[in-house]
Protein backbone atom coordinates (compact mmCIF):
# COMPACT_ATOMS: atom_id res chain seq x y z
CA UNK A 1 0.00 0.00 0.00
CA UNK A 2 1.07 3.54 -0.57
CA UNK A 3 0.80 4.67 3.05
CA UNK A 4 4.21 5.97 3.95
CA UNK A 5 3.90 7.24 7.51
CA UNK A 6 5.88 10.22 6.28
CA UNK A 7 3.02 12.64 6.01
CA UNK A 8 1.21 14.12 3.11
CA UNK A 9 2.45 15.57 -0.13
CA UNK A 10 0.45 18.45 -1.52
CA UNK A 11 0.88 19.63 -5.09
CA UNK A 12 -0.70 22.81 -6.35
CA UNK A 13 -1.79 23.51 -9.90
CA UNK A 14 -3.07 26.93 -10.87
CA UNK A 15 -5.19 26.82 -14.02
CA UNK A 16 -7.42 28.96 -16.16
CA UNK A 17 -6.27 31.91 -18.22
CA UNK A 18 -6.67 34.19 -15.27
CA UNK A 19 -5.52 31.73 -12.64
CA UNK A 20 -9.02 31.49 -11.30
CA UNK A 21 -8.91 27.72 -10.88
CA UNK A 22 -6.66 26.10 -8.33
CA UNK A 23 -6.23 22.39 -7.76
CA UNK A 24 -4.59 20.84 -4.72
CA UNK A 25 -3.67 17.17 -4.92
CA UNK A 26 -3.05 15.54 -1.57
CA UNK A 27 -1.48 12.13 -1.09
CA UNK A 28 -0.35 10.11 1.92
CA UNK A 29 -1.58 9.84 5.47
CA UNK A 30 -3.76 12.91 6.03
CA UNK A 31 -4.21 13.11 9.79
CA UNK A 32 -4.02 15.60 12.64
CA UNK A 33 -0.25 15.85 12.36
CA UNK A 34 -0.52 16.92 8.72
CA UNK A 35 -3.18 19.60 8.94
CA UNK A 36 -0.59 22.34 9.27
CA UNK A 37 1.16 21.13 6.12
CA UNK A 38 -2.14 21.20 4.25
CA UNK A 39 -2.92 24.69 5.49
CA UNK A 40 0.53 25.88 4.45
CA UNK A 41 -0.17 24.64 0.93
CA UNK A 42 -3.42 26.59 0.96
CA UNK A 43 -1.43 29.79 1.34
CA UNK A 44 -1.08 29.63 -2.46
CA UNK A 45 -4.81 30.26 -2.65
CA UNK A 46 -5.89 33.82 -3.41
CA UNK A 47 -9.28 35.29 -2.68
CA UNK A 48 -10.01 35.76 -6.38
CA UNK A 49 -9.98 32.03 -7.07
CA UNK A 50 -13.35 31.02 -8.51
CA UNK A 51 -12.95 27.26 -8.40
CA UNK A 52 -10.91 25.27 -5.91
CA UNK A 53 -10.42 21.55 -6.45
CA UNK A 54 -9.04 19.33 -3.70
CA UNK A 55 -8.16 15.82 -4.80
CA UNK A 56 -7.64 13.49 -1.85
CA UNK A 57 -7.98 10.33 -3.92
CA UNK A 58 -4.44 9.24 -3.04
CA UNK A 59 -4.82 9.82 0.70
CA UNK A 60 -4.40 6.62 2.66
CA UNK A 61 -5.68 8.06 5.95
CA UNK A 62 -8.46 10.62 6.42
CA UNK A 63 -9.05 11.27 10.08
CA UNK A 64 -11.38 13.70 11.81
CA UNK A 65 -8.78 16.47 11.94
CA UNK A 66 -8.28 16.18 8.18
CA UNK A 67 -12.02 16.50 7.74
CA UNK A 68 -11.90 19.55 9.98
CA UNK A 69 -9.27 21.10 7.71
CA UNK A 70 -11.50 20.55 4.69
CA UNK A 71 -14.45 22.08 6.52
CA UNK A 72 -12.31 25.10 7.41
CA UNK A 73 -11.40 25.49 3.73
CA UNK A 74 -15.10 25.36 2.82
CA UNK A 75 -15.81 28.09 5.37
CA UNK A 76 -13.05 30.22 3.87
CA UNK A 77 -14.45 29.78 0.39
CA UNK A 78 -17.94 30.63 1.63
CA UNK A 79 -16.55 34.08 2.40
CA UNK A 80 -14.96 34.59 -1.02
CA UNK A 81 -17.76 32.92 -2.95
CA UNK A 82 -15.53 30.33 -4.59
CA UNK A 83 -16.75 26.90 -5.59
CA UNK A 84 -15.20 23.85 -3.94
CA UNK A 85 -14.92 20.49 -5.64
CA UNK A 86 -13.66 17.56 -3.60
CA UNK A 87 -12.41 14.48 -5.39
CA UNK A 88 -12.38 11.42 -3.19
CA UNK A 89 -12.69 8.11 -4.97
CA UNK A 90 -11.58 5.56 -2.41
CA UNK A 91 -14.46 3.63 -0.84
CA UNK A 92 -13.37 4.41 2.71
CA UNK A 93 -13.28 8.11 1.92
CA UNK A 94 -16.74 8.07 0.41
CA UNK A 95 -18.04 6.09 3.37
CA UNK A 96 -16.76 8.71 5.79
CA UNK A 97 -18.04 11.63 3.73
CA UNK A 98 -21.45 10.03 3.27
CA UNK A 99 -21.92 9.16 6.92
CA UNK A 100 -20.72 12.46 8.30
CA UNK A 101 -22.99 14.33 5.91
CA UNK A 102 -19.98 16.29 4.67
CA UNK A 103 -19.97 15.05 1.08
CA UNK A 104 -22.45 17.57 -0.23
CA UNK A 105 -21.09 20.40 1.86
CA UNK A 106 -17.56 19.83 0.59
CA UNK A 107 -18.66 19.53 -3.03
CA UNK A 108 -17.86 15.85 -3.39
CA UNK A 109 -17.62 14.99 -7.05
CA UNK A 110 -19.92 12.16 -8.11
Amino acid sequence: MSGSDHGIVVTTDVGGDDGSSVEFTVSGDFDATQVERFEQALEALHDDAAVVVVDIGDCTILDSAALGALVSLRHRLDVTGAELELRAEKPFQRLILANTGLGDYLGLAV
Binding site: G3, H6, L62, D63, V71, G101
Partner: protein
Protein backbone atom coordinates in the same frame (compact mmCIF):
# COMPACT_ATOMS: atom_id res chain seq x y z
CA UNK B 1 9.56 -9.11 12.94
CA UNK B 2 12.17 -10.37 15.37
CA UNK B 3 9.99 -12.99 16.96
CA UNK B 4 6.41 -13.80 17.65
CA UNK B 5 6.17 -11.35 20.48
CA UNK B 6 8.22 -8.53 19.15
CA UNK B 7 7.11 -6.76 16.06
CA UNK B 8 10.11 -4.48 16.12
CA UNK B 9 9.81 -0.76 16.46
CA UNK B 10 11.03 1.93 14.14
CA UNK B 11 12.14 4.12 17.00
CA UNK B 12 13.21 2.38 20.16
CA UNK B 13 13.35 5.61 22.08
CA UNK B 14 9.61 5.79 21.81
CA UNK B 15 8.54 2.20 22.00
CA UNK B 16 9.12 -0.80 24.13
CA UNK B 17 8.36 -4.12 22.65
CA UNK B 18 10.39 -6.11 25.11
CA UNK B 19 7.44 -7.00 27.26
CA UNK B 20 5.32 -9.92 26.35
CA UNK B 21 2.32 -8.87 24.82
CA UNK B 22 -0.76 -10.49 25.80
CA UNK B 23 -2.59 -12.29 28.49
CA UNK B 24 -1.54 -15.55 26.83
CA UNK B 25 2.25 -15.59 26.53
CA UNK B 26 2.03 -17.93 23.56
CA UNK B 27 -0.14 -15.60 21.57
CA UNK B 28 1.82 -13.65 18.96
CA UNK B 29 1.55 -9.92 19.09
CA UNK B 30 3.28 -6.80 20.23
CA UNK B 31 3.04 -4.17 22.92
CA UNK B 32 4.18 -0.59 22.43
CA UNK B 33 4.63 1.95 25.19
CA UNK B 34 4.17 5.25 23.45
CA UNK B 35 4.79 8.74 24.78
CA UNK B 36 1.69 10.91 24.66
CA UNK B 37 2.79 13.05 21.75
CA UNK B 38 2.06 13.16 18.06
CA UNK B 39 5.25 11.37 17.04
CA UNK B 40 3.69 8.19 18.39
CA UNK B 41 1.03 8.14 15.70
CA UNK B 42 3.29 7.33 12.76
CA UNK B 43 5.33 4.92 14.89
CA UNK B 44 2.28 2.90 15.87
CA UNK B 45 0.87 2.86 12.34
CA UNK B 46 4.21 1.74 10.96
CA UNK B 47 4.32 -1.24 13.31
CA UNK B 48 0.77 -2.23 12.40
CA UNK B 49 1.56 -1.97 8.70
CA UNK B 50 4.58 -4.19 9.19
CA UNK B 51 2.77 -6.84 11.15
CA UNK B 52 -0.68 -7.01 9.62
CA UNK B 53 -1.49 -8.17 6.12
CA UNK B 54 -4.70 -6.36 5.34
CA UNK B 55 -7.27 -7.85 3.03
CA UNK B 56 -6.84 -4.95 0.62
CA UNK B 57 -5.80 -1.30 0.57
CA UNK B 58 -9.25 -0.07 1.51
CA UNK B 59 -9.38 -2.38 4.54
CA UNK B 60 -6.03 -0.99 5.62
CA UNK B 61 -7.19 2.61 5.25
CA UNK B 62 -10.42 1.95 7.10
CA UNK B 63 -8.67 0.28 9.99
CA UNK B 64 -5.80 2.75 10.25
CA UNK B 65 -8.02 5.81 9.97
CA UNK B 66 -10.15 4.54 12.86
CA UNK B 67 -7.03 3.60 14.79
CA UNK B 68 -5.49 7.04 14.19
CA UNK B 69 -8.52 8.91 15.50
CA UNK B 70 -8.63 6.78 18.63
CA UNK B 71 -4.90 7.05 19.31
CA UNK B 72 -5.07 10.82 18.91
CA UNK B 73 -7.95 10.85 21.39
CA UNK B 74 -5.78 8.99 23.89
CA UNK B 75 -2.78 11.27 23.32
CA UNK B 76 -4.88 14.40 23.69
CA UNK B 77 -6.50 13.04 26.84
CA UNK B 78 -3.07 12.52 28.43
CA UNK B 79 -1.93 15.95 27.29
CA UNK B 80 -5.08 17.65 28.62
CA UNK B 81 -4.59 16.08 32.02
CA UNK B 82 -0.82 16.47 32.10
CA UNK B 83 -0.27 12.72 32.26
CA UNK B 84 3.24 11.67 31.23
CA UNK B 85 2.59 7.94 31.43
CA UNK B 86 2.78 6.07 28.15
CA UNK B 87 -0.18 5.03 26.07
CA UNK B 88 -0.14 1.31 25.40
CA UNK B 89 -0.84 0.00 21.92
CA UNK B 90 -0.99 -3.78 21.87
CA UNK B 91 -1.91 -6.41 19.35
CA UNK B 92 -2.86 -10.04 19.62
CA UNK B 93 -2.84 -12.37 16.68
CA UNK B 94 -4.60 -15.38 18.09
CA UNK B 95 -8.07 -16.80 18.03
CA UNK B 96 -9.27 -13.25 18.16
CA UNK B 97 -6.93 -10.89 16.33
CA UNK B 98 -7.15 -7.38 17.61
CA UNK B 99 -5.37 -4.13 18.31
CA UNK B 100 -5.98 -2.20 21.51
CA UNK B 101 -5.19 1.29 22.75
CA UNK B 102 -5.04 1.91 26.50
CA UNK B 103 -4.79 5.29 28.16
CA UNK B 104 -5.00 6.32 31.80
CA UNK B 105 -7.12 9.40 31.24
CA UNK B 106 -10.54 10.24 32.54
CA UNK B 107 -12.52 7.87 30.38
CA UNK B 108 -15.32 8.23 27.90
CA UNK B 109 -17.90 6.14 26.14
CA UNK B 110 -19.22 5.68 22.65
CA UNK B 111 -22.06 7.99 23.60
CA UNK B 112 -19.56 10.80 23.09
CA UNK B 113 -20.30 10.26 19.42
CA UNK B 114 -24.05 10.50 19.76
CA UNK B 115 -25.74 12.95 17.49
CA UNK B 116 -22.88 13.57 15.14
CA UNK B 117 -23.95 11.42 12.24
CA UNK B 118 -27.64 11.89 12.85
CA UNK B 119 -27.27 15.63 12.63
CA UNK B 120 -24.96 16.71 9.80
CA UNK B 121 -25.66 20.37 10.51
CA UNK B 122 -23.75 20.01 13.73
CA UNK B 123 -20.78 18.73 11.77
CA UNK B 124 -20.96 21.31 9.04
CA UNK B 125 -21.55 24.47 10.98
CA UNK B 126 -19.13 24.06 13.84
CA UNK B 127 -15.54 25.00 13.20
CA UNK B 128 -14.19 23.03 16.11
CA UNK B 129 -16.37 20.02 16.52
CA UNK B 130 -16.21 17.90 19.66
CA UNK B 131 -13.00 16.28 18.50
CA UNK B 132 -13.09 13.29 20.77
CA UNK B 133 -16.66 12.39 19.92
CA UNK B 134 -16.10 12.88 16.23
CA UNK B 135 -13.09 10.57 16.26
CA UNK B 136 -15.04 7.89 18.07
CA UNK B 137 -17.89 8.21 15.62
CA UNK B 138 -15.60 7.79 12.63
CA UNK B 139 -13.73 4.88 14.20
CA UNK B 140 -16.99 3.12 15.03
CA UNK B 141 -18.10 3.57 11.46
CA UNK B 142 -14.88 2.22 9.99
CA UNK B 143 -14.04 -0.62 12.37
CA UNK B 144 -17.00 -2.94 12.98
CA UNK B 145 -17.07 -4.53 16.42
CA UNK B 146 -14.98 -1.81 18.04
CA UNK B 147 -15.42 -1.81 21.81
CA UNK B 148 -14.68 0.79 24.46
CA UNK B 149 -13.98 -0.20 28.04
CA UNK B 150 -13.82 3.00 30.01
CA UNK B 151 -13.69 4.05 33.63
CA UNK B 152 -12.50 7.11 35.46
CA UNK B 153 -9.03 5.56 35.62
CA UNK B 154 -8.62 5.03 31.92
CA UNK B 155 -9.89 3.63 28.68
CA UNK B 156 -9.09 0.63 26.54
CA UNK B 157 -10.41 0.67 23.01
CA UNK B 158 -10.27 -2.64 21.18
CA UNK B 159 -10.31 -2.82 17.41
CA UNK B 160 -10.97 -6.30 16.00
CA UNK B 161 -8.98 -7.25 12.96
CA UNK B 162 -11.50 -9.86 11.92
CA UNK B 163 -12.43 -9.24 8.33
CA UNK B 164 -9.74 -6.60 7.93
CA UNK B 165 -6.44 -8.42 8.03
CA UNK B 166 -4.24 -11.14 9.45
CA UNK B 167 -0.77 -11.47 10.92
CA UNK B 168 1.96 -11.39 8.32
Amino acid sequence: MKNDQDAGAPDTSHTDTSDAVTSDAKTPGFRLLLPPDSTSIAVARSVIRRTVRFRNDDSESRFLTGFTDLLINAIEEHQRRGIDEPIVVAAEFGQASLVSITDVGGGYTASDADGLFGNPARVVHTDRMPERGRGVAIATLLVPGLTIDSSDSGTTVTLPLEGSGVLR
